[in-house]
Symmetry: C2
Subunit: 142 residues, 2 copies
Amino acid sequence: MGQPERPDAEMSDNKKKTQFLTEVELEFMTRLWELGQATVRDVQDALAPARKLAYTSAATILRILEQKGFVTSTKQGKTFIYQAALSKDTYQSRSLKNLSEKLFDNAPATLVARLVDDYDLTEETLGEIRALIDKRLRDDKR
Amino acid sequence: MGQPERPDAEMSDNKKKTQFLTEVELEFMTRLWELGQATVRDVQDALAPARKLAYTSAATILRILEQKGFVTSTKQGKTFIYQAALSKDTYQSRSLKNLSEKLFDNAPATLVARLVDDYDLTEETLGEIRALIDKRLRDDKR
DNA sequence: CCCTTTCTACGAAGACGTTCGTATTTCTCC
DNA sequence: GGAGAAATACGAACGTCTTCGTAGAAAGGG
């Protein structure tokens, strides 16, 4: 009784959590990560000229981002102040993990290989990367 | 000559080239990359159980992929044989470049840093990556 | 106090994505 | 050669994304 029939048998997640940002949302999060805190106006002003949006569009995007849990807001007077609820580092990790799973058979070494092959990395950059690996190898040893 | 000026701004491309695959499209391309050549039926059968689609849905996705230029087809009798028009390597490169630009300020070293920090990479994997860097450093020297 | 400015809330419109059903074509083989 | 199986073509239905306009609330200064 009570519960309506769910013949389907498939999951039960009430809210489908949106793990990833859409194109425009990413642009907005990037601005927020840079600004730290910002009003709709602040973010709108910070958009690259090529991607300017109407003020109300910017407000809509921020409202959606809050609905999805990517940002939080506090009210100051009549104005909302927005802040990222998710660090850029965290989102970078999530995205990389996803890319690795979906496109690199979960083999990070393959991913790095492609990166190193494709980019004209400077000797300096290569050195940096190597240092990271070495550090990690040393740390793991302990 | 002939080439019309395209100062910058935005393009008037009649066809908006879709650079990237959607979720379902990527799943299909992954199957095609594995199979090499395949009919609608082949691809449908190869889908993970959790992602099974009706036969006509599979056919639709492949038709769309062809419209977008990601696959080509040849007719064999009444049946289409599909094949990826884009190598997995190429698509990996494109995706990595995009991620690097959009989320890592175009700094591949940062990307690798995050990867190395987040994953519990085995010593072996780390060694592989290191070898790749070293090889590249050596090659660049010449 | 009321006019202007600035904000939020919400809905509309159009593009795209996903899934499938129906209609049509094509092949096969008794 | 006709019936049935298997393929393709297409469009409907529904959801999400992106963009914006309109409407109404909140300040605040003359």
